[in-house]
C-alpha cells in the first residue's frame, strides 16, 4: 500500500498550470509516472486533454470543459462533476465521473467508455462514433443526436428528441423518454442487445437488470433523401 502511494504523481492545480500538467501527461511514457492524482481542479478547462498513454488518473474535484478530450488509453476518474464536452472525441480508455456532466458528454467519441454516475445534460453522446456511454441518472434533450456508432445506456430518464436523426448507435433507456427525435424508434431488445447491455452495465459497475431497459435505434427512413419524407426535416 505504502509503495503504491509513493508511485502516484500528485499535481496540485493551484501550483501547476494546465499547460505544465498536460505537457507532463503527454510526455509520460512507459518509464515515466503512470499513476497520477490531480488536486484542486477548480473547474479548469482541458484537464488531461490529448493523453496518449495508458495512465491511471484520479482528479479530486470538479472539472471544466473538455476534460480528457480525445483521450487515448488512459483511465480517468473524476471525483466531482464535469463541464461541457467531457471526453469529447474519446478514442479509447475510460472516463468516469462521480457527479453530473454538462452538455455534449462523450461527443463524437470513437471508442472507449464514458461513465456518468449522476445526470448528463443535453446532447449527451451527440454524433458519437463508436464510444460507449453509460449514464446512471438522466440525460437531457437531443441526446444521441446524429449518433453513428457505439451504445448509449441511460439508467434514468431521457429528455426531448432522443436519438434525433440517429444512424447506427444502440440506445438503451430504463426510465421514460419524453419524446423520440426524427427517425428514432423503439426496437426489439434481442439477445445480442441484452448481452451488449449486460456487458456495458458490468463494465460501468452499474447494478441494473437489462430486461428493464427498452432499446431505441434508427428507423433508417432518412438514410437516403426522399421528398416523401420532407415533413420529417
Amino acid at each position: 500500500m505504502g509503495t503504491a502511494e509513493q508511485t502516484v504523481e500528485v499535481v496540485d492545480l493551484t501550483e501547476t498550470t494546465i499547460r505544465e500538467l498536460n505537457q507532463r501527461l503527454h510526455d509520460a511514457t512507459d518509464g515515466g509516472p503512470q499513476n497520477w492524482r490531480i488536486t484542486h481542479p477548480n473547474g479548469l478547462h482541458a484537464i488531461g486533454a490529448g493523453i496518449n498513454a495508458p495512465l491511471e488518473i484520479d482528479i479530486d474535484g470538479h472539472v471544466g470543459y473538455y476534460c480528457a478530450g480525445m483521450n487515448k488509453e488512459a483511465n480517468v476518474r473524476i471525483h466531482g462533476s464535469a463541464g461541457v464536452g467531457l471526453a469529447e472525441n474519446i478514442m479509447s480508455g475510460t472516463v468516469i465521473v462521480d457527479g453530473d456532466t454538462s452538455q455534449s458528454a462523450g461527443a463524437t467519441g470513437r471508442g472507449g467508455l464514458v461513465v456518468v454516475r449522476g445526470n448528463a445534460a443535453a446532447r449527451c453522446g451527440i454524433s458519437m462514433k463508436g464510444v460507449n456511454i453509460v449514464v446512471e441518472g438522466n440525460v437531457g434533450h437531443l441526446s444521441g443526436f446524429m449518433a453513428q456508432k457505439g451504445a448509449l445506456v441511460v439508467c434514468g430518464d431521457a429528455g426531448e428528441a432522443l436519438g434525433d436523426s440517429i444512424y447506427e448507435t444502440h440506445i438503451y433507456v430504463r426510465g421514460s423518454v419524453t419524446e423520440l427525435g426524427a427517425d428514432c424508434i423503439e426496437k426489439d431488445l434481442k439477445e445480442f442487445h441484452t448481452a451488449e447491455l449486460s456487458g456495458l452495465l458490468a463494465e460501468a459497475g452499474v447494478d441494473a437488470n437489462p430486461s428493464d431497459f427498452k432499446r431505441y435505434g434508427s428507423a433508417r427512413k432518412l438514410y437516403n433523401f426522399s421528398i416523401d419524407n420532407a415533413d420529417a426535416y
Binding site: 499547460r19 498536460n22 470513437r110 451527440i126 454524433s127 453513428q148 436523426s165 438514410y223 421528398i227
Partner: protein, 445 residues
C-alpha cells in the same frame, strides 16, 4: 411542325422568366426537390474584376520586372503557435474533402501545393495518407461532423482550421450523397456504405464565441501549442465574426466569400446567402485594425480567386494570403474539353459541369468510382496545379512591381480604383477618375 421554340423576331425572352428559370420551375414541378450542385455562385456579383490597379508613374516609381525582387513569402500563425506556417507564395489550397474528391485528386493537390511551397487543406472526411504523404504543409480541418477526427492526425498536422462556415453556404451544413460513399469513405466516417452523410451546421461541443475560445484552448493543449489554429468563417457579418474569432484566440482568420465553391449544396443557398468577398475584406480588415491585430492575426481570403490580378487586389485590400478551391480543381483537369462527349452524356458540357455531388465526374476528380478515379493521373494533375500557381504568382508579382512594391503584401487600397459605384462602395476605394467613395467622404454611411 417542331416542338422546339425558335427564337426570332417577335419572340421576346422574359428577363425574369428566362430559359434557365423556366427550366428550373419545370424541373421542380417534375421532381419536387431543390437543386443540389457543386461549383460556386454563377450569378454575377461585384468582384475583383470591378477594380483596377494604379500603376506607378511620375509620383511613384515601379520596380523592374524580372530584375528587382518582389517577395511573395508569407508567415501564417505566429500569434501563439511555436511553429507557424511559412509559405513561399500567398496562395493556399482550400479545404476539400476526401469523399467529395477522389484520393488521387487529393494527392495531386498535395503534390502541386508542395512543389511551389504552399499548403493544402483536408476537408470534411478526415486526413488521408495520400494527402499527408504528398503535402509538406497540411492544414487539418475541425468541422462540425468530426468525421475521421482523431488526435494522432491533429498532432501530425501543420495547422488546424476550425471551420465555422463556408462561403457557399453560411449557416449551412453539408451533404455527401450516398452514391459517393465507397467502403473507404464509409469506414473513415464511421457510417454505413451508400447512405447520405449529413454534416451538421453547428459544432457538437461548443456554441458561441466564449465556448470557441475554450475549444481552441483544448486544441492547443492537445497539440502542445506547436501549430497554428485558423478559424474559417463564411462572409456574412465579417466585422463581428472576425472580431470574435480574434477574441477566441485564432492565429489566422480564413474568410470565404459567397463566390466560394462547394462539393454539394442547394443552388438557392449558393446563390442567395452570404456576401461577395470584395465587400467582406474591408470589413474584416477594419475589424482587425480596430483591435490592433492587422498583420498580427493573418487574414486569408477566398471566393472566386482565379488570376494573379484577383490575388493582387485581395492583398491590396489588406489580406495576407488567398485560398483557391474551384480554380485548383479546374487546374487539375475538371471541366476539361477532352471530356466533352462524356459531359454531354451527363446532360452538361465542358465548362458547365457542376454535378460534383453525383460522383460521375469523367475527369476522375469529384468521384469515388474506382474506374473513374484511375483516369486521373495525380502526378500530372500536381504538375498542372503547380504550373497554374506559378503563373498566378508571376502575374501577382508583375502587378505589384508595376505599383512599385518589393513585397506583394505592400500593395494597399491606395493602389486601387473601382470601375463601378457598387464596387467602389464595397471595396471602399474611389470610383476611377474621381475621389468618390460612396458611403465615405462625407456621404451618408
Amino acid at each position: 411542325m417542331t416542338n422546339e421554340p425558335t427564337p426570332g423576331a417577335g419572340m421576346r425572352e422574359s428577363a425574369l422568366f428566362d430559359r434557365n428559370v423556366i427550366h428550373e420551375i419545370q424541373r421542380k414541378a417534375r421532381e419536387g426537390i431543390y437543386d443540389i450542385r457543386g461549383f460556386g455562385a454563377k450569378r454575377k456579383v461585384p468582384h475583383f474584376d470591378d477594380l483596377l490597379l494604379l500603376g506607378a508613374s511620375v509620383s511613384r516609381y515601379p520596380l523592374e520586372g524580372y530584375r528587382e525582387r518582389c517577395n511573395t513569402a508569407v508567415t501564417l500563425g505566429n500569434r501563439y503557435a511555436k511553429n507557424p506556417i511559412e509559405l513561399e507564395i500567398p496562395i493556399t489550397i482550400a479545404g476539400m474533402s476526401f469523399g467529395a474528391l477522389s484520393a488521387q485528386a487529393k494527392e495531386a493537390l498535395g503534390r502541386g501545393a508542395t512543389a511551389v511551397g504552399t499548403s493544402t487543406t483536408t476537408g470534411d472526411g478526415g486526413m488521408t495518407e495520400e494527402e499527408r504523404g504528398h503535402s509538406e504543409k497540411l492544414v487539418y480541418q475541425l468541422l462540425p461532423s468530426r468525421y475521421g477526427m482523431n488526435p494522432d492526425d491533429l498532432r501530425r498536422a501543420d495547422a488546424i482550421e476550425v471551420v465555422i462556415g463556408q462561403g457557399a453556404k453560411p449557416g449551412g451544413g453539408g451533404m455527401l450523397l450516398g452514391q459517393k460513399i465507397s467502403d473507404r469513405v464509409a469506414e473513415m466516417r464511421d457510417l454505413p456504405k451508400g447512405i447520405d452523410q449529413r454534416s451538421s451546421c453547428r459544432h457538437p461541443d461548443w456554441t458561441g464565441p466564449d465556448d470557441l475560445e475554450i475549444k481552441i484552448g483544448e486544441l492547443r493543449e492537445i497539440t502542445d501549442w506547436r501549430i497554428p489554429i485558423y478559424v474559417k468563417i463564411a462572409a456574412s457579418r465579417p466585422y463581428f465574426d472576425v472580431a470574435l474569432a480574434v477574441k477566441s484566440g485564432a492565429d489566422v482568420v480564413v474568410l470565404d466569400g459567397m463566390e466560394g465553391g462547394t462539393a454539394a449544396t442547394q443552388d438557392v443557398f449558393i446563390e442567395h446567402v452570404g456576401i461577395p468577398i470584395l465587400s467582406a475584406i474591408p470589413e474584416a480588415v477594419d475589424s482587425l485594425k480596430d483591435l490592433g491585430m492587422h498583420r498580427k492575426v493573418q487574414l486569408v481570403v477566398s471566393g472566386g480567386i482565379r488570376t494573379g490580378a484577383d490575388v493582387a487586389k485581395a492583398l491590396a485590400l489588406g489580406a495576407d494570403a488567398v485560398s483557391i478551391g474551384v480554380a485548383a480543381m479546374i487546374a487539375l483537369g475538371d471541366n476539361a474539353p477532352e471530356h466533352q462527349q462524356e459531359y454531354e452524356k451527363l446532360g452538361s458540357g465542358a465548362g458547365y459541369y457542376d454535378d460534383w455531388h453525383e460522383g460521375r465526374d469523367p475527369a476522375g476528380i469529384s468521384t469515388q468510382d474506382e474506374e473513374l478515379g484511375k483516369r486521373f493521373n495525380a502526378e500530372l494533375g500536381g504538375r498542372r496545379l503547380a504550373n497554374y500557381l506559378r503563373a498566378m504568382v508571376l502575374e501577382t508579382q508583375t502587378l505589384a512591381r508595376a505599383c512599385g512594391k518589393s513585397d506583394v503584401r505592400n500593395l494597399e487600397p491606395e493602389d486601387l480604383v473601382a470601375l463601378t459605384i457598387e464596387a467602389a462602395a464595397m471595396a471602399r476605394v474611389p470610383l476611377a477618375g474621381t475621389k468618390w467613395i460612396p458611403g465615405l467622404n462625407g456621404n451618408t454611411e
